[in-house]
Amino acid sequence: MVDSNLLLAGHVLIILSGIVIAFSNKFLSSQRDRLLAGLSLVLLGGFTVSTHTWWFHNKYHELGGNIGCSAFGSFSCGDVLANSEWNTVPMIGIPWGLMGMLAFSLLAFFALSIRKEHNAKWVKTYLDIGYVVSGFGILIALYLLYVEVVPLEMTFCQFCSVAHLADITAFVMFMKLRKLQKTDQWDLEASQDAKDVKAKDIKRSQRKKNSGFVKPTARDEEE
């Protein structure tokens, strides 16, 4: 069996590569593309680590007893995920891992749709919803951190922490995308076209002012 910490490193690697792509100028031509590609990878990492968390949750129930993740060598993760008092969403009762999968899927839908149609009318709405959902995720992460620190007496689950890291990163990226969307940088091609049109307009109006007379250039004089 592959060590779970090795698999955890795989999730972290996906998220880190997303961060590198989003904030490095070496990849892709526009900032929008970089941010959206990075965001997609971060959300994929969040999704896979949430799936893994849910798998642990189920594995624990399958095995019974106080085994949880610790049998697979992942520190105190079992003490958190195996704790029936805290391992499900209050009121709803679904495991936190499954909740994470749903949330990251929703955010990934927004990111992929925007990547394909960055000028669509719904882009602003999707960015706003993504920003709010990932922001709400931070509140949930803080609540779960409180659970790990106070009721569970400093017992931490690194799989949950990686999912929280993915959510916080997604929040920052959605925030940057929202800012970017309000600038010319969002659609460089369109803004370049607009600049070209404007330059032509200026030239045309200049020609009109001079009653059609075009001042010869140095090259014309040489000829």
């Binding site: 799936t51 189920n58 129930h61 899927s105 669509a120 009318k121």
Partner: protein
């Protein structure tokens, strides 16, 4: 012309979203299938075949004075137990109250059963208080007195001496303090005494509520193997 362009744009936008939603749903369902196909989750509950909620608190062993130790029910289970393994310990979980008259008179049966099944079945008495009834309030001393059948005024609605309970000391029964009724609530227990039998891997195999008309002893005889045990039921 403009209408045509608008229609084209709208179609392209909806196509892109449809593509995204198909991709996300596809990945999501593959992940769900992967999780379900590689795990066999057992639901949490107190019906037969379910994994009961954990019981955590402090426990007391008869004859150890006023020493209480940490107790965690899940840590008692043998997760790799298989049927036919006769060396494993089964569990009887008995929700009871020191102020419950029926529990007072049931004390002799618990004593006999725990003595007979000693080594094969671990009896765990979960001592609760009823949050809505002021007559059902105990103390750690009262629980110990009930367990050891010693002199203490306060059992049986707070009006009787604990040494008037039927039967002898419960030397083979582990008493767990659940005076805040947290485990009682988790297990959905409505009154005392209420019994459950758990297999060595922790699954509920007998629930008193689902087996009306059958006594605990009947459940034990039917479910727990007696191979290698001395005496007879």
């Amino acid at each position: 012309m403009k209408i045509n362009e608008l229609a084209k744009t709208t179609r392209a936008e909806s196509d892109s979203r449809m593509g995204s939603i198909l991709l996300v749903c596809g990945v999501f369902f593959i992940a769900v299938i992967l999780v379900f196909s590689t795990t066999d989750a057992i639901p949490i509950g107190v019906d037969e075949g379910e994994m009961p909620p954990n019981i955590k608190g402090e426990s007391h062993v008869a004859g150890t004075g006023d020493v209480w130790n940490n107790f965690d029910l899940y840590s008692q289970f043998q997760s790799n137990w298989t049927e036919g393994d006769y060396n494993s310990t089964w569990f009887v979980i008995e929700f009871m109250s020191t102020d419950c008259p029926v529990c007072m008179s049931y004390g002799d049966e618990i004593e006999e059963l725990s003595e007979y099944w000693s080594g094969r079945v671990q009896f765990i008495a979960v001592a609760v208080d009823f949050q809505f009834n002021e007559e059902f309030t105990s103390s750690p001393e009262e629980i110990i007195a009930f367990q050891e059948k010693s002199d203490f005024e306060g059992c049986n609605h707070g009006k009787g001496n604990c040494n008037t309970r039927d039967g002898g000391p419960h030397d083979k029964v582990l008493y767990v303090d659940d005076r805040d009724a947290s485990s009682m609530t988790d297990w959905g227990v409505q009154g005392t005494p209420t019994s459950y039998i758990l297999s060595p891997n922790g699954l509920v195999v007998w629930n008193q509520r689902n087996n009306q008309g059958q006594d605990l002893i009947d459940g034990l005889v039917e479910l727990v193997p007696t191979d290698g045990m001395g005496g007879g039921a």
